[in-house]
Symmetry: C2
Subunit: 322 residues, 2 copies
């Protein structure tokens, strides 16, 4: 199997490539080669049992996508995107990277006339408030950010291109990924990871929203599991509605903090500093609190069922001594 | 008021411009000028009480949109589109005209930095089966044609651009327009008008689907009413969800034919020839049968409540002697 990962230097891209190097298998078959594309240099992979090519490139420039798929990858994992906060701050960049770049990739595959599995990382940002306590599988997409609009548009393109037989794609609507390793990013959701990650690393964290805020989460480990499952699943089981809300865990900030206390002790909880930020609060108010992910669950996608499990996954995967 | 109409030579565009010339008023104010754009020459308008400019142009070519809005029209009615059958038969043309052309128009307005009311004619083709008997206001858009995907994508852009204050737009999801005057077109829905129009004109009509097929209709007269209402409505009453399912009438083909008999006599009904067409049947099976249009109704949009009224509107508006 030849695999292409876009956004390979991003958090999910890196973890996906690392896991791929560990197992050497995708969709039940041996990986022959991996192409990693990102605007920045992708980090080295130690001891990959297959050929690795890294390309620093901008997918939103003409002809880049054609070059990336020139070896006709069997699986394309398309993670490349500008995050929500940046897409909101920079309208042109957001649409260029998140929409035009995706269109270029989709059209390059269409014109290459072959049938790869394409996995697209969409987001719960396709939904916008007001909505019911639990978002049903048939709830409409009325995003309240440009990022959400861009993801929703790509979902529509993905479904139409798949219907027309240009490729065989699955869009996976990721919950907010938590706990993200590393540094805060420009996503408005960044603090959700920060209030767990920074205390676990002995650092202070800023909480810009009230404890009552409820949101929808999955760990990076689960997200990587979604990508592998989406790469292997029989498309005929999915049917024409190719965009799936991924399973997750619905938790309040208060519940997250209690969980932190249980997993790592009350002292670490004291590192969380409450500094209300009305801009972030306004954005977060427009986000989903809980989704019905029955379809994805029945198709074999799985996520954590407690926030303790999410924190423990972070501690294990990042090799923390707690 | 300066008004721009794209697709001005199309059925809705022509009727809208004719009505505008009759009244000379839009959104409660006098019309100062009208720009009519279409790929073909727009038909002449007799005795318009305002300046009329006609431009034969392709909106999907760069810089055309900028030229069209150079006089900063207060109201833009964007009807230009390739119809469903043609968009399905010609992938490139469909996306170029229906998506790229709309993006060019939206971006031209965005860059002109002013705040027109933009009215976009969307379609019930944004919905795709399977769905419930009545489609709720929050039902998701999973189109089963490229035309539907293009309309759904433009709806998302429209909402995002409006949210960001680039313009003040309303998307109106038109029911299937029936009875369309003139000749059949390439829309897969064309026969719905044909089985009424041709018999009323003493000609044979082909019915490619069973009498039990149920669909969602409004007359051209109602559609023009929607456009005028959308041009004048207070945007703050609409809120952030800028795409509205227009009211219509749910009727079966059998009910339509009964209505034809009541309005024009049994002899005309005999002109309908049943010739099942599996391709058209397959497309039509994916279409909505009935919509909840409560939001639009509460915002003052109105349509026929009987198929007899739809047929009588056609007889009156086309000056038939029946």
């Amino acid at each position: 199997m030849k695999v292409l990962v876009t956004g390979a230097a991003g958090m999910l891209g890196r973890k996906f490539c690392k896991k791929l190097a560990e197992t050497g298998i995708i969709a039940g078959r041996n990986v022959e080669s991996l192409t990693r594309a990102d605007v920045i240099e992708s980090p080295a992979i130690a001891d990959a049992p297959f050929k690795v090519r890294s390309v620093a490139c901008d997918l939103s420039e003409p002809r880049v996508a054609e070059e990336l798929i020139s070896d006709r990858p069997d699986v394309i994992v398309h993670c490349a995107a500008v995050v929500s906060g940046e897409a909101e701050a920079n309208f042109d960049k957001g649409y260029r990277i998140n929409l035009t770049g995706t269109q270029y990739l989709f059209d390059a595959v269409r014109k290459a006339i072959y049938m790869p599995r394409l996995v697209f990382t969409s987001s719960i940002a396709v939904f916008g408030a007001p909505f019911p306590e639990v978002l049903g599988e048939e709830f409409f997409t009325t995003p309240l950010t440009s990022y959400g609009a861009q993801k929703a548009i790509c979902e529509l393109l993905l479904a139409d291109y798949t219907r027309l037989g240009f490729f065989d794609a699955i869009g996976i609507r990721l919950p907010t990924i938590c706990v993200r390793p590393g540094k805060p990013n420009k996503a408005a959701s960044s603090f959700f990871s920060g209030i767990i990650r920074e205390p676990l690393n002995g650092q202070e964290a800023v909480l810009p929203v009230p404890d009552t805020v409820r949101h929808w989460f999955a760990s990076p480990r689960s997200a990587i599991g979604f990508l592998f499952r989406a790469a292997e699943i029989d498309g005929s089981l999915v049917g024409p509605r190719r965009n799936l809300s991924m399973p997750g865990l619905s938790a309040t900030v208060g519940e997250m903090i209690e969980s932190l206390g249980r997993c790592a002790g009350a002292e670490r909880v004291k590192l969380i500093k409450r500094q209300p930020d009305p801009v972030i609060m306004r954005i977060v108010e427009g986000w989903a609190r809980k989704l019905d992910a029955s379809r994805a669950l029945s198709l074999g996608f799985a996520a954590e069922t407690s926030f303790d499990a999410i924190i423990r996954a972070y501690i294990e995967d990042e090799h923390l001594d707690i």
